[in-house]
């Protein structure tokens, strides 16, 4: 009976993840077929357990039958508290997964997690900077391939008069802009993301960021741009989603000790969190 509930819980949980699309908040969709197959595997085991349970209710427990199988771990679960422990433990992910909301990584986490902004201040770790704001995918390619991809991206985006950093272009577009900010000065760029504020920016400045996923949520990084508004933005709350359009320029950003591209906003408006708050890197 307990087993039936647990297995049913898992089957339901995986089905829910796929039905609502929440699965994309946990893992890279490239591997979604694995968890999709779990709906059927768990469903089957759950039905099997149900049939077995109903049958066991109908007949007196058959000891001969039990001798063929089922011996391996039964002794682990023969006392009520051990049973409680096993089933209680296994039910945890089902219960928390179904009932707790998905914590889409937001700026509270940026501060609390390993790659967070306070790290920028202690500049001992010079590499950590690249995981914030600026996507750097050169690690994922060998040198020649990366150069090739870089130049083809540069060609692609240089042709455009205005660049819209939507889901498809977020990683490639942003990376190209960070790699060749000079080529894009004066161009129109549109970006959408959540608002983040550090101590060292002006009252009319904000960061507009999005979490990006390379493989799964454990390796999520935060990417985006510094944005310069015509108005004082001090009353805009962190985590608000915002869409901005502006002209690209570069500025010396002291914490990074380098010039970074930033946007001089021409228009902006508040926006709602997109259905999928993460961006994924497109491999092509």
């Amino acid at each position: 009976m307990l087993r039936f509930i647990v297995l049913f819980g898992f089957a339901y949980f995986f089905m829910k993840l796929h039905a609502t699309g929440d699965i994309s908040k946990y893992i890279n969709m490239k591997y979604a077929y694995l968890s999709f197959s779990m709906i059927f595997a768990m469903g089957f085991l759950c039905l099997y357990q149900l049939v077995k349970w109903v049958r066991a209710g109908n007949e007196v427990h058959d000891h001969h039958h039990a001798a063929y199988h089922g011996h391996s771990h039964e002794t682990d679960e023969n006392t009520w508290y051990k049973k409680m422990f096993t089933y209680g433990m296994i039910l945890i992910p089902v219960v928390t997964g179904i009932f707790l909301p998905v914590a889409t990584l937001n700026s509270t986490v940026v501060k609390a997690k390993g790659f967070h902004f306070s790290m920028i201040d202690n500049d001992k770790d010079q590499y950590a900077n690249h995981q914030i704001l600026r996507p750097n995918s050169s690690l994922y390619y060998d040198k020649d391939q990366y150069t090739e991809m870089e130049s083809s991206d540069l060609k692609k985006y240089s042709k455009l008069q205005s660049i819209v950093l939507d889901d498809d272009h977020y990683f490639h577009g942003l990376e190209t802009i960070y790699n060749y900010p000079g080529n894009f000065i004066g161009k129109k760029v549109a970006i959408k993301g959540f608002v983040y504020r550090t101590d060292d920016i002006k009252a009319n400045q904000l960061f507009v960021l999005r979490f990006g996923i390379i493989h799964c949520i454990a390796d999520a990084g935060v990417y985006g741009m510094l944005v310069d508004f015509p108005d004082n933005m001090a009353n805009v709350k962190e985590n608000t989603w915002i869409e901005v359009e502006g002209k690209l320029d570069t500025t010396y950003y002291t914490p990074f000790k380098e010039n970074i591209p930033y946007l001089k906003v021409t228009s902006y408006h508040k926006s709602s969190e997109p259905k999928d708050p993460y961006v994924y890197r497109q491999y092509n």
């Binding site: 297995l7 993840l17 699965i23 908040k25 946990y26 893992i27 591997y31 968890s35 779990m38 595997a41 768990m42 099997y48 357990q49 077995k52 001969h64 001798a67 063929y68 199988h69 089922g70 391996s72 771990h73 002794t75 682990d76 679960e77 422990f85 096993t86 433990m89 296994i90 945890i92 992910p93 997964g97 707790l100 998905v102 914590a103 990584l105 937001n106 509270t108 986490v109 609390a112 997690k113 390993g114 790659f115 967070h116 790290m119 001992k124 770790d125 590499y127 950590a128 690690l139 994922y140 390619y141 060998d142 391939q145 390379i214 493989h215 799964c216 949520i217 454990a218 390796d219 491999y283």
Partner: protein, 309 residues
């Protein structure tokens, strides 16, 4: 502390807990398909493979049997937690301990899925994938050889053995099960095993998620200044993060800029052999002393191997 400050702290705390839950769930979702596959393979071995069959194919010679175990590991599409129940089953079926361990250590690394994901994660290059396989074989073979000298018995936990003996007699007393009974027996076994292994996955996942949420990886990373320290740090990180070997290459490649090949390689090999969740599973199946000696050996061999590259 003002009321507002308290409120903010509370909100941050709740947020961190939700965050931890999200990491936890993503570990579970990633690993579960491989656990299910693992318990099914284990159950099939239990029902369909007899000790005589294994005795027939298993070479008697110590080194040949280890080579055989390594080769078998290469055929199994398992990850480091799914393979533990399979290994336990093999040892129970009288596979020599050293061969089973060689199997357990290579299985999660040398298989098509893992090799392919490593290939993709490191920018479609074979270098990392091949180095990873090489170091895995090196570590697995040397660990298994050392084990074959130090440990003569099967090293299963006593109560597991006692149970086996008891049931061994039961089996003799009854007729052989027919095919259908074998099939239902397989499913029953798989479900039993799922529950017995599942609790360790959940427990390990919780610890790992908590450490990732409340422990700053940056502090850890800043310690890895020398090559030696970097290797050790990455091994520790692999242990804590408990990422499935099918998926860890993508995480490892994100450390590529920070650490050298040696440290990344140590992460890829050590993490696929030992981590929090599979440690709990191994301790459930095998004697503690044995598990710790084995991990000691693995640490030494992975470290030396990675250092020399």
């Amino acid at each position: 502390m003002s009321v507002i400050e308290k409120g903010v702290r509370y909100a941050v705390m709740v947020q961190s807990l939700l965050q931890m839950n999200t990491i936890f769930i993503s570990i579970i979702i990633e690993a579960l398909p491989f656990i299910v596959l693992g318990v099914f393979i284990s159950a099939v071995i239990q029902m369909f493979v007899t000790e005589e069959m294994i005795a027939k194919v298993m070479p008697k010679n110590r080194f040949l049997s280890i080579a055989f175990g390594t080769g078998m590991g290469a055929l199994f599409p398992a990850c480091e937690c799914g393979i533990v129940p399979i290994t336990e089953r093999l040892v129970r079926k009288n596979v020599p301990l050293s061969a089973a361990i060689a199997f357990m250590l290579t299985g999660p690394i040398i298989n098509p899925v893992v090799i392919f994901s490593t290939f993709v994660a490191f920018g479609d290059s074979w270098k990392m994938a091949l180095l990873r396989c090489g170091l895995a074989i090196f570590t697995a073979v040397l660990t298994a050889i050392a084990i074959s000298y130090f440990f003569s018995e099967n090293q299963l936990r006593e109560f597991v053995e006692a149970k086996l003996h008891h049931h061994g007699h039961d089996h003799e007393a009854h007729d052989k099960p027919n095919f259908l009974q074998k099939i239902t027996g397989t499913i029953d076994h798989a479900i039993d095993e799922f529950f017995s292994v599942g609790k360790f996955l959940v427990f390990g996942g919780l610890i790992s998620a908590a450490m990732q949420t409340f422990f700053r990886t940056s502090t850890l990373l800043s310690l890895g200044q020398t090559k030696m320290a970097a290797i050790l740090i990455m091994m520790l990180l692999a242990f804590i993060m408990s990422i499935c070997s099918e998926a860890d290459a993508f995480i490892a490649s994100s450390f590529n800029g920070m650490f050298g090949t040696s440290a990344i390689l140590a992460f890829l090999v050590f993490g696929a052999m030992v981590d929090i969740k599979n440690l709990l599973m191994m301790m459930h199946s095998f004697k503690r002393k044995f598990v710790f000696s084995m991990i000691g050996l693995i640490i030494v061999f992975v470290f030396t191997g990675a250092f020399l590259i």
